[in-house]
Symmetry: C2
Subunit: 408 residues, 2 copies
């Protein structure tokens, strides 16, 4: 049989490692012949934009290794939500047509919550039609918000980038002998895992970030200003890590409140960091800066976690094993079996328990006042950022595989 | 004799490497006894905040090496402009008092344009008063805008971070099958060197950034929109690298907030990327994002250039040699002696040719239309980002020296 792989959703530093893992296990399997890649996720599959991956990767350890270190998505992505089967089966039938055309026996979809929804729907339709194609989900998301998995591939690398950057930002801030507040805005609309990872920046000599605000706890401006003032008095420098998605007591996004107009009368949508910066400037008046880590937190593979890349690769391999053992409608998962030392096992979970659900931070991993995380959280996070992969460099820059990443 | 070292201005990834270089050469010299550090630059020296550096660093290669890799400023910084001697000699006399108190025979000030102004004034006053203290400038600035030196320490590391990040941002952008413009705002008020370095992100498979806007060329909005449209039509994804300090034909900053000034009278800029984003949204209407690299371009030592760190270290050593050979009122410099292979020599230059002057990009290194740099520029830049230092890691994060960096 042949297999088909595609990628979907937002990029991470580790999603290509999972692609490399699926390929590696497929090349080693006697049951699998050709390995196809669908370009731009399910959307490209519907348009029959399918490429063969054996050429270029089979038997080429160096290419597979470079792919493992390459951020973003080698096969391209899409944001395409399939209709329900009750609504319209056209897309589903079209995918089955593609499966037949390429003699596909197993389909691997690497993605986050929305992509797992596609895996769920597709696996059920395939079963309904009595077609023998295994449909397997391979998880990825920097947000770490998937159910039924200890942590998500891509999260560890993003966490490492965030902790490294927050430590560097703190050092940059400390040099001046004046009261300074720096707000670091971190991704996460509904779950605060990435922002929580900023706590790893601390050391015996670095207390920053001193304040951590997560979407899981309602944000109160007066409390915030009070906390900042208190820490300014003690330390003179305050580094605040904040999730883009923090909300007030009424559930309204803090960022939405920051709408104002520029001198031409254009409405300027301020980010959460900009709103907090404005608050500090108005109510405290000290030097204040807002830094948005932006897409680099998901794309900075030069700062990836070796643990994350390795696990992402193995999750891909594990996906192939699941398909070959006859499973379908499942996601390849990680189960943590030990904390000290950190140990894991690869397993699987029924996809319908994962699709469209979100895992948030347990309240007991956040301090009672809600502006910091507990030791338990740090113990959970620490193993995920361990190890530095040997990123190949050429001419002073990471030598990522770029030939296919740039696709129209 | 004893020596005194201090650091000033904005941080870089390499300024502590120069500090390590001065220390290393001083520890090896039989003529130098104690090595003192002035905290928070000239300001801390005036306040007699002086620490001894022998303890902790002398004979401790591991500490010196960690210091070399540590970003920001171990001794802290200041933004303090000394009055002219004609205006008031109080500060100068106070510094002489400190020199006497600690039996200082040579003073090393590591900094950029403004710090070289301090070196210039101080060296002249010392001479005027017939005091035997050598005053030596050790250059640093990510901006690469110092005269009389091929390139400045700290610039290569910032350039490497910028090129790496722009490449990663491009890969992040390419994955979606839709017209997208990404504006990357890079530091540089008057000189475009840092923004020019984004061109290094290109490879055989990556054309981004396709547009580069520098302060050296007047910015025209209509031209900009026309260029973006043209490239969107061909590539669908446009990455624009822009200096925070671009100005229109009349010399007015494009940034909406280009009216505030800092203590030195420098215009404080932010928001150039946001203005360009707004322009694209209004006049083209496609997906558009603005990313500000912010302070990480000067603080991200985890992505430093080994060439830069090595040269910065050697410039420190060279400064000690200059002082011991009787020179004063000079800056330690780099002279490029060959391009292919890249070779350099360490030398010195009279400080009054450097203080308060700015080196801009020669017009012939920018393409005639003004939205890109020439091959000559890329040849100049390429050697400066070569090599990856072995940053010490602990628990998954760069193990920088943090004990003194955090000072009140």
């Amino acid at each position: 049989m042949n297999i088909l792989i595609a990628q979907s959703g937002g990029p991470t530093a580790a999603i290509n490692a999972s692609l490399a893992g699926v390929m590696k296990a497929a090349f080693e399997s006697l049951e699998i012949d050709k390995v196809y890649g669908g370009c731009n996720g399910i959307q490209g599959i519907l348009e029959d934009r399918i490429i063969q991956l054996n050429e270029g990767f089979e038997g080429n350890e160096e290419s597979l290794n470079r792919l493992k270190m390459t951020p973003a998505m080698y096969l391209g992505s899409c944001r395409y939500k399939m209709k329900s089967v009750e609504e319209d089966t056209a897309d589903y039938d079209r995918v089955l047509e593609i499966f037949r055309k390429y003699a596909i026996g197993a389909f691997f979809y690497i993605g986050g919550n929305d992509s797992m929804d596609t895996v769920d729907k597709m696996s059920k339709y395939v079963e309904l039609k009595g077609v023998d194609v295994k449909v397997i989900g391979i998880p990825k998301t920097i947000d770490n918000d998937l159910m039924m998995i200890d942590h998500t591939p891509g999260f560890g690398s993003a966490a490492k980038y965030i902790a490294t950057s927050v430590r560097e930002i703190a050092m940059d801030t400390y040099i001046y002998n004046m009261d300074t507040v720096v707000i670091v805005e971190i991704m996460g609309r509904n779950a605060g895992w990435l922002t929580a990872a900023s706590a790893l920046a601390r050391s015996n000599y670095n207390v920053a970030p001193q304040l951590i605000y997560l979407p899981e706890v309602a944000f109160n401006s007066d409390d915030f200003i009070w906390q900042v003032k208190k820490i300014l008095f003690q330390y003179h420098h305050v580094i605040v890590a904040v999730s883009e998605g923090i909300k007030d007591e009424s559930g309204k996004y803090i960022s939405a409140q920051g709408t104002k107009t520029d001198k031409f009368g254009h409405v300027m949508l301020s980010g959460t960091g900009a709103v907090l910066k404005e608050l500090v400037a108005e109510r405290i008046g000290c030097k204040v800066r807002s830094i948005e880590l932006n897409v680099l937190q998901r794309a900075a593979a030069h700062c990836a976690s070796a643990t994350d890349l390795e696990e992402s690769f193995e999750l891909g391999c594990n996906g192939v094993k699941l398909a070959l053992s006859g499973k379908t409608g499942v996601m390849s998962t990680i189960v943590r079996t030990g904390d000290n030392p950190y140990t894991i096992e690869y397993s699987s979970a029924k996809i319908d328990k994962i699709a469209n659900a979100e895992k948030k931070i347990p309240r007991e991993w956040i301090t009672p006042e809600g502006a910091d995380v507990t030791t338990k959280m740090i113990e959970y996070l620490r193993p995920l950022i361990q190890g530095e992969p040997e990123v190949p460099y050429k001419d002073g820059l990471p030598d990522y595989i770029l030939d296919r990443v740039r696709r129209k």
